[in-house]
Symmetry: C2
Subunit: 315 residues, 2 copies
């Protein structure tokens, strides 16, 4: 079966594994691509040289398409884009920045571009900038997140009304039912993050993976809105942030508390107390660590089952 997203990226299933910092290296991306989805490397936590190595290893590990997620506010953005072009990567997901700046150049180099947005206005701007697809990410998503706090359930149909290019839903999706619901709301495909954090191939620390499969509803919060809103597991660090807020902090106070490398410390090094543990609300539904191939297979099998049985089993 084919749809806009599988055709665009030449993949089997319209499932994109999010290019998450400290989680999405070549092992995860190639495993997802080998399973029929689209694996993304997370350039946001890689020095340019490290990214080059991950791209090269990913090419060896899969003959299927894979891509790179690039936060455009990255300090070495020029070098990163140069490496992507030089290495012949064919798919780039851009986020956190203006899609006008790099889309044309990427497309001239034969690269398909998807851009992550969290509002209708920026979806329209991304389409205008010539991107091939839009990722609409809801408030429930883990990690960095929109200021408007619009949820997946409401964002997808509102974006769908205003754009004609393919639409990928992100935020809150971890199962075949979630995928089907997102597509009923208007998405052509889904980007899945949290569930792939709890994969065997994710480069997250095992402490973090274990925390993700234990977490329940209400265990995350969106905070640090004055810097860039980010959704985290509640822990000592997030409590420290809330304590600081009680004292009416300046932006600099927040920057000082955040410090450097909090996300690495939490997700990659496994410091569950003082690290930043980025994860989505749907963590409450994730309760085992599985191979990425199993995750893709389960999602597709549940999706198919639900889709084919809707007519008979529901009001």
């Amino acid at each position: 079966m084919q749809n806009k997203i599988t055709e665009l990226f030449k993949i089997k299933y319209p499932i994109i594994q999010a290019g998450m910092i400290w989680n999405s290296g070549w092992k995860l991306a190639s495993a997802v691509s080998n399973s029929g989805g689209l694996g993304l490397l997370g350039a946001g936590s890689m020095y340019p040289d490290v990214l080059r190595q991950h791209i090269q290893k990913c090419k060896k590990a899969t003959s299927h398409p894979f891509g790179v997620n690039v936060p455009m506010l990255y300090p070495n953005i020029e070098e990163i884009i140069q490496i992507i072009i030089e290495q012949g990567v064919k798919i780039v997901f851009t986020s956190a920045g203006n899609p006008k700046i790099h889309t044309e150049r990427l497309k001239k180099n034969g690269i398909k571009v998807a851009h992550v947005i969290s509002s209708v206005k920026f979806a329209a701007k991304a389409q205008e900038a010539g991107v091939d697809a839009v990722v609409a990410e809801g408030f429930e998503a883990g990690g960095h997140n929109g200021r408007e706090e619009t949820t997946t359930f409401t964002l997808i149909p509102m974006v769908k009304e205003k754009i004609q290019i393919p639409l990928i839903a992100a935020g809150g999706i971890a199962t075949g039912k979630g995928m089907l619901a997102a597509m009923v709301l208007g998405a052509d495909g889904v980007q899945i993050g949290s569930r792939f954090v709890a994969s065997e191939e994710s480069s997250a620390h095992i402490n973090f993976k274990n925390k993700v499969i234990e977490a329940k509803d209400g265990d995350t919060l969106l905070t640090l809105k004055e810097l860039a809103p980010v959704r985290l597991l509640k822990n000592k660090f997030s409590n420290d942030v809330l304590e600081l807020y009680k004292r009416n902090p300046s932006k600099q106070d927040l920057i000082d508390l955040l410090g450097r490398a909090r996300a690495k410390r939490g997700m990659f090094e496994g410091d569950l107390e003082d690290g930043e543990l980025e994860i989505g609300q749907i963590t409450g539904l994730i309760n085992k660590i599985q191979p990425a191939s199993k995750i893709v297979k389960e999602i597709i099998s549940e999706f198919d089952f639900e889709k084919n049985n809707l007519k008979g089993t529901m009001f």
Copy 2:
């Protein structure tokens, strides 16, 4: 066609019209019930005597089941429950409080009870308290809202895992596609608020209805979390609240700013500047004022079309 919700309430379609303050009087509730859904009176903005009149008028206006939404922190709660029993109302939706206190008494009087929650924990407690159904309301919903900020897309499947009684989804639902998506995620029925605000029969002021159909994504915010989190349209009042927050206000400062009757002033009297305008994020998808019967018909017709065509039209 029948399901758990239509059987429980003896209605044709599993669509519940939310019992919203200043919007949901006998005209709206009876119009929805006459259209095959379940209309609810919003007791939260009615003095006991006013509620009695609305119940009596509703009984005259429809021979179909209707109910009353009762916020349990209401000052005259005893009198309200007495009137409901005395008037022979057969369905009560309770919110904002402990379902243990009144459920047994209501059920002894032959009343079906649904309880509104915003977390898995309180869904389980409601089931334990013996309610007949749970309404799980996501972060995107208008008006008063949960502290956990869990969205509809993630709350529904997480609640579904933990309860066996019928589950009604609320928050972000305004269309047949939204209804179908909610049911794919695990709901047996849906509660719809914002779209019925923009109905001819809603008792909201025309200024407020017009504002609802003009609003776009990003035009609401959740605020006043220290009192009770509430989702509002952004306006002068909500800006005043944000200004006050910059000065590190005490809870009393917030209570003082809110003052009395803000919601009535905004939604019922049409003061778009200084009134409190409670509405959900899905307001961005609502663009016309229609008769309630047309709203129900459109939702069901879109729901049926999408459900029957899923198999053929989607990946």
